[in-house]
């Protein structure tokens, strides 16, 4: 009896760890595939209304982190709160952009069909996609600058255009928290600008967005906050404070060539200031 009281964290402690206002709070989360843990003991609380970059080397568990938050992979331990509640109660408020490579782009649907998939939950079981749903999807396509390609079969779109379609599918969900897995991977310059614009627009409307990001050179330009991850949480906070050479070295370890390149750019930026 006494022991169980001791091991149970007090109610007030849980509330401290999961502030109801935070769009996403992760407490003590470990995820393992088979017996090998992929991410360990993650404690993280996302700031409201910010653009957050999830940064780390390959195999650091960035995608796993997102998948675990979305209940796509089982957690070995720990808990996740989305706006103060469990994920499955807050699904309507979360938008997800998977990696572009995760699907078969040869699938016989057009861009509009894919975007409409973001509305399926709202439409509900067994009911068909109606004209007003298609209209909503069309508006989202227009927001990402893809309205002219609505009727194109998705294999005939370029990589950047496919990524925009995925983004539009998340936009129609009209969520408050967005999780995006490498939306900038392999896109052309104009798509990158379009995506950044959308991200900023989301921030202006008070949405919180977590983005798995690979290009260290653009982190300071695009993001307010960073989450440095390498199986464990290395550092997190505002980009200006946390995105330092020291922390990057901790995150990336021995991969110095890359670091020096970024470091060079960063020192240039600092001297310019």
């Amino acid at each position: 009896m006494i022991r169980s009281v001791l091991t149970q964290p007090s109610r007030s402690k849980i509330e401290n760890e999961h502030p109801a206002s935070s769009p996403l709070s992760i407490h003590d989360m470990t995820v393992a595939y088979h017996r090998k843990p992929v991410i360990w003991d993650i404690d993280y609380t996302a700031p409201q209304g910010k653009l957050v970059a999830i940064v780390g080397p390959n195999g650091a568990g960035k995608s796993t982190l997102i998948s675990a938050v979305l209940d796509l992979v089982p957690k070995a331990s720990g808990e996740v709160r989305v706006f103060g509640e469990e994920y499955h109660k807050q699904r309507n408020r979360v938008g997800y952009v998977p990696q572009r490579e995760s699907v078969d782009w040869d699938f016989p649907v057009n861009a509009l069909n894919v975007v409409a998939m973001g509305l399926y939950r709202k439409i509900g079981w067994c009911l068909p996609v109606m004209r007003r749903h298609r209209q909503t999807a069309m508006e989202a396509l227009d927001r990402v600058g893809m309205a002219d390609y609505a009727k194109r079969q998705i294999s005939q779109l370029s990589g950047g255009q496919q990524q925009r379609v995925f983004l539009a599918r998340a936009l129609v969900q009209d969520a408050d928290l967005y999780l995006m897995d490498e939306p900038f991977a392999g896109v052309d310059a104009s798509t990158e600008r379009a995506i950044v614009e959308i991200l900023r627009e989301l921030r202006e409307r008070g949405k919180t967005t977590l983005v798995v990001h690979h290009d260290l050179q653009t982190v300071t330009e695009y993001f307010d906050h960073v989450l440095l991850l390498n199986m464990r949480l290395v550092a997190t906070g505002p980009t200006s404070e946390v995105f330092t050479r020291e922390n990057l070295r901790k995150t990336y370890g021995g991969k110095l060539a890359l670091l020096d390149q970024v470091g060079h750019k960063m020192t240039l930026g600092e001297s310019a200031r």
């Binding site: 979305l70 699904r91 649907v109 067994c126 779109l157 599918r169 052309d188 310059a189 104009s190 379009a194």
Partner: protein, 506 residues
């Protein structure tokens, strides 16, 4: 033996054996060793006897009650299999379909033994056998899922293991069944290769009910199955129960297998499932149409197969039905309007022709460019000059033969007109087109130099109007850049020197 091509090959072998071995006593999987009286007619000695004109008309007009029954049942099976097959194919579960069909075998034997134990002589009750088959098919799926969930065995190995274990167990149990006096008469062997001709009205009712149920379920969950097949991760993040949806899809596949047991048999039923769906993909890029076409191809393939096998009763009906479906597939693969081989070759040739046309127009424009006043409208000036083939020769790295051909084609298309031997003049139409081609090409080059780190893919720099592919603000700033650098020009000068060597690199 666990792929569709092998299965098709197997169908061929079965038919070949029947051709070559008139006694019908082929050695492999146990099948009917007592040719019926009806089948003795069409194959005398080593050759096939062609049906008489009377036989053909009787069959085609469906005058025989038996043919009618079989045609209706098998066509419905084909339609249901085609529709389910589309989602099986798109979900990449084709091989799982094969596992399900093989797993049904022990179910049939066990159902027979159980029913025989309850009531001697009652083991032949068809719905009971089919339910046994269906449950065993499910057991096959569950085993595969469990292996994948709890071990690190890869999917292909898990499928192969389950398939062979279940099929082996089924064959062993069949031996037990054969040893029971009533068992050897029960004709369970027909479930392996099918025995279409023995179909009766009651069987057709079962097929009709199951097919209808399958089509209704797919109709209701069309949207859900689409999402599941396209992006299951996203579906799961939205809270769709993907595991249960996946299971339901497999239940439907098992349903098709069970009603297909009677006509084509469990070894070939996966071909009914996958070939119409694969064929339909050659005709459309839209899911709704693909499904409809798969249903059509599945249904009509089965119908034609039944008629053909009715004209040649000595041939095994199941393989004939499957091979008819394969013929439909081959036709689709060659002539399908979306991705058929013929269309692809034609498109490639068209592309080559378009590129050739753009090259000749650009060469003409660029040759004449230095002789024109760049501040005045270009098109009007271009038509005043005469160009010969030898003028164009150094513009690109083309052979004289290819250049002559391109000029001939351009003349036929009314882009240029021959004015004297070996001399050409651009027509008004040709001049306008050349102007457009060169403008697009150079704006793209400017864009690539000024802006893009990564070039947009899928761009034909001569033909695609830049406005269609780039954001309007970029085009505007490009044109601004253009007018700043080269005032009064509608076509920017080439950013590099124009000669054959530089063309090699662009």
């Amino acid at each position: 033996m666990n792929s569709v091509p092998t299965r098709i090959g197997f169908a061929l072998v079965v038919v070949a054996v029947w051709f070559g071995n008139p006694s019908g006593a082929a050695a492999e999987p146990p099948h009917d060793t007592h040719p019926s009286r009806a089948t003795a007619r069409s194959l005398s000695r080593d050759r096939l006897e062609w049906p008489s004109w009377d036989d053909v008309t009787r069959t085609l007009l469906l005058r025989d009650y038996n043919t009618r029954i079989v045609a209706i049942g098998t066509t419905m099976l084909g339609v249901a299999a085609g529709i389910v097959g589309v989602f099986t194919l798109l979900r990449r579960r084709s091989l799982l379909g094969d596992v399900i069909s093989h797993s049904t075998l022990p179910g049939i034997a066990i159902a027979f033994l159980v029913m025989e134990a309850i009531e001697p002589g009652g083991g032949k009750w068809l719905p009971g056998l089919l339910i046994g088959a269906w449950l065993a098919g499910l057991a096959g799926i569950v085993c595969t899922k469990l292996i994948l969930r709890f071990t690190r065995i890869k999917e292909d190995a898990a499928l192969a293991i389950v398939l062979s274990v279940f099929f082996g167990a089924g064959m062993a149990l069949f031996k037990v069944v054969q040893d029971i006096p009533s068992g050897s008469q029960a004709g369970l062997n027909h479930f392996i290769l099918g025995k279409t001709a023995s179909m009766v009205l009651a069987d057709v009712w079962i097929i009709a009910e199951v097919s209808l149920a399958i089509v209704v379920i797919i109709g209701l969950l069309y949207k859900e199955f689409t999402l599941l097949s396209f992006d299951d991760k996203f579906a799961a993040s939205q809270g769709w129960p993907i595991f249960r949806l996946d299971l339901l899809l497999m239940l439907l596949v098992a349903g098709v297998t069970v009603i297909g047991l009677q006509s084509v048999g469990l070894l070939l039923v996966v071909a009914m499932l996958i070939t119409p769906a694969a064929a339909a993909r050659f005709w459309s890029d839209r899911l709704g149409r693909t499904t409809l076409i798969a249903a059509l191809l599945g249904g009509s393939g089965a119908f034609c197969g039944v008629l053909i096998s009715a004209m040649f009763p000595r041939l095994a009906a199941g393989p004939v039905i499957v091979l008819t479906g394969v013929c439909f597939f081959l036709v689709s693969m060659s002539f399908g309007v979306r991705r058929g081989v013929v269309v692809r070759v034609a498109m490639h040739r068209q592309l080559k022709a378009a590129v050739g046309r753009q090259h000749i127009l650009r060469a003409l424009f660029e040759f004449l460019e230095p002789q024109c006043n760049p501040t005045a409208p270009m098109s009007a000036q271009l038509v005043n000059h005469i160009v010969s083939a030898s003028d164009l020769q150094p513009m690109r790295s083309w052979t004289p033969k290819r250049l002559r051909r391109l000029l001939r084609v351009a003349e036929r298309s009314d882009f240029i007109a021959a004015v004297r031997a070996g001399g050409y003049r651009l027509t008004t139409r040709g001049a306008e087109l050349a102007h457009r081609v060169v403008r697009n090409h150079r704006l793209w080059e400017l864009y690539l130099i000024e802006y893009a780190d990564i070039a947009p893919s899928h761009v034909d720099r001569d033909a695609d109007d830049i406005e269609h592919l780039l954001a309007p603000d970029i085009v505007e700033s490009l044109e601004q850049l253009l007018s700043q650098r080269y005032p009064h020009m509608t076509v920017p000068p080439s950013p590099h020197a124009i000669d054959a060597t530089s063309e090699l690199t662009t």
